[in-house]
């Protein structure tokens, strides 16, 4: 149960090792800031993430426990960055190792989907004119 679960303003590591001699598959997901053009022509320059950190961490631990009850997870990491995240840079990293690959893909997918639905973290778009706007979660997008 040596899950690595963190919320931090530091840049995410490039790599989190969740390998195990009992794991045949490792699935990793990185959610990154994607460049965008606003309908009014402005360019996105970054996303600013804010967390209700104590709650977010608690939720991420609960997600890890729920995922472990659904899939035979060997090791697991859920890292989320807060603060400003530039274009192409990752804001979230999820890594899961399981005996077989299906389980790794399914658990990783479920973790990111559920994190995005429930975990107390918010992002604000930062535009090239200095304007900002909180992301409306009804919006499509990754």
């Amino acid at each position: 149960m040596n899950d690595r679960i963190e919320v931090s303003s530091e840049p995410l590591p490039e790599h989190v090792d969740v390998s195990a001699t009992t794991a045949g598959g490792v699935a990793v997901f990185l959610g990154c800031t994607r460049g965008e053009t606003h309908p009014d022509g402005r360019q996105l320059v970054a996303l600013d993430y804010e967390a209700y950190e104590e709650m977010a961490l608690k939720q991420m631990h609960d997600l890890a426990a729920a995922a472990r009850s659904k899939w035979p997870i060997e090791r697991l990491a859920i890292l989320h960055r807060v603060g400003r995240v530039g274009l192409g840079d990752p804001s979230v990293l999820i890594a899961v190792s399981t005996p077989h690959r299906s389980e790794a893909f399914e658990a990783c997918r479920w973790l990111i989907d559920t994190l995005k639905k429930d975990v107390a973290i918010w992002k604000k778009e930062v535009w090239d004119d200095g304007g900002t706007s909180w992301v409306d979660p009804g919006e499509p997008g990754s």
Partner: protein, 84 residues
């Protein structure tokens, strides 16, 4: 009957909710989460649509409008999340 079953609770405000109110923490007298939501909407009418779409957390777990509040509870408004 002011004060009956009403607790003074500290409420944390984040993201759009903090921007809408200009505060990251407010104190509200309310007996339940539902009452709290109503009072916040009364105090910041412009934020009411956002409050209506928000969830509430008591001691870092989502709580229903029926949840009864205690003075020492850590309460927070959770606007629609957008992490990831």
């Amino acid at each position: 009957m002011p004060g009956q079953g009403q607790m003074k609770v500290n409420v944390k405000l984040f993201a759009a909710m903090r921007d809408a109110t200009g505060a990251d923490r407010v104190t509200v007298e309310a007996g339940t989460v539902g009452e709290l939501a109503e009072k916040l909407g009364g105090r910041w009418p412009a934020a009411k649509p956002l409050i209506d779409r928000s969830r509430f957390a008591v001691n870092q777990a989502f709580a229903s409008h029926e949840t009864v509040l205690r003075e020492e509870d850590e309460v927070a408004v959770i606007p629609p999340v957008s992490g990831g």
